[in-house]
Subunit: 272 residues, 2 copies
């Protein structure tokens, strides 16, 4: 998907909401478990209920891999359903891959061809040749981990690597030499103004994928205020559990729609 | 697998060879392509031919994911065949996973339960809580990326993070507070004496998984000489293409055995 198409969708829906499909057989409503593919049926219902308020969907690969072959089947069905039914929606495989060049080329095939996602999350540790193979696909995106929202982020991402920069800032800076802002986004798990401002100083116009709002407690308004891009609302704010597990009863999809709409309302005033 | 069992196997076979199963439909012998599951048949033949000289096998997940559901089926068959037929052999899922805690717990389930591997490679960028969930499984191992063998290693791994250490050294040092050398190994893509000595100064007794010998040109003798652990031959030296694609004809398994035996011969003199 081209950047202009994603931006048009954001303006049309007045939303930068990304719904995280961390679909867990232990948490989805019990009545779905009788169906042949409960994970897919759950995802389908969530997507149908929320697509008016969300511009992107992000399956978390770990949840599918943990179910083995059946989980991969559910993932295949989910991405195909999303692409066929709501082709305007942006899709992210949250897989955090990254390996030497010839191996990354295989991951690119896996997530951009075999599974036709628009974007894939990538870990930066192995550097430029672990990233480049993904750029061979036009209109596909890599979303590089810069600053994550977990406690362990402090172990390495906050290390001071020279007088001016912490490691996550060096990742933001160096990777911009590898790819344009039409093919590279960043994961920035920051919901605090100070960090968002530091990130925007280095990457003023790149799309940022921001996890950690909703169930994890971050404020949408603060992210919208301090995280906007210099030229557009270059943000994707992810919520997973707060939306998909808003209810575990028969009304799960309806309650997910309400939760998604609530977040969208917090966003709309910031989007022109 | 307990460390003592792995060490016993190393002594018995006088080998620290790990065979990388980077199995690629475009490179395996043409006569296998007519079979129902060419990737599994190839792996089975390679394992049967080389298990006398190798102590470990390492499927590279990207090659299986690139084939979609069929690739996962081949991977399931491969790990089950290996465990059932040669239970003494150590198995590594080279998947370079790593995510926030509840997600890493799912990856642990995927690779230690659903796919019964002994070990999984992990990227360190997200820090302690991305690593800890894997340690809940007794006798399973995580193999943390420290120093990789690709050109991009220079982008971040060699960054100076304080006066004494580069980033890969900080990874080696800090992660030892999270896990013992009975559950944590390191990927060290170094075949040069100087780097191996720097690594061994920080991690004298941990197992190191060393890629980059064989087809990629590194010297087994140099790795054995400078990479040995302080108390045992705590090494797994990986070769992929040099063994599995030693021939692309009908004799591929036989030639793979020859290549594996050649590497084992270079190792045996160093193992008491």
């Amino acid at each position: 998907m081209k950047r202009s198409a994603l931006e048009a969708q954001i303006r049309a829906k007045k939303s930068v909401l990304c719904v995280g499909l961390d679909t867990d057989l232990e948490k989805i409503p019990a009545h779905l478990l009788e169906l042949e593919d409960p994970i897919f049926e759950f995802n389908k219902a969530i997507i149908d209920a929320t697509h008016r308020y969300a511009v992107a969907y992000k399956p978390n690969l770990a949840f599918y891999e943990a179910e083995g072959l059946k989980g991969w089947q559910s993932l295949v069905r989910t991405i195909n359903y999303l692409n066929d039914t709501y082709p305007e929606c942006f899709s992210i495989a949250d897989a955090k891959r990254g390996d030497i060049g010839n191996t990354s080329a295989r991951y690119a095939k896996a997530f951009f061809e075999v599974l036709p996602f628009h974007a894939l999350t990538i870990a930066p540790y192995m550097g430029v040749d672990s990233v480049k193979p993904f750029l061979a696909y036009p209109d596909k995106w890599i979303i590089l981990l810069a600053l994550t929202s977990n406690p362990g982020a402090a172990d390495f991402q906050f290390l001071q690597v020279d007088e001016q920069a912490q490691l996550f800032e060096t990742v933001l800076e160096k990777s911009q030499k590898w790819a344009t802002d039409e093919e590279l986004m960043f994961v920035v798990g920051a919901t605090k103004a100070a960090f968002l401002e530091r990130v925007r100083k280095i990457a003023p116009n790149h799309f940022l994928l921001v996890p950690g709002v909703g169930a994890q407690g971050g404020s949408v308004a603060e992210v919208m205020k301090y995280g906007m891009g210099s030229e557009s609302a270059a943000l994707l704010i992810n919520s997973s559990r707060g939306i998909i597990y808003a209810s575990q009863g028969l009304d799960f999809a309806k309650k997910a729609a309400v939760a998604a709409k609530d977040l969208q309302k917090d966003m709309q005033g910031f989007i022109l």
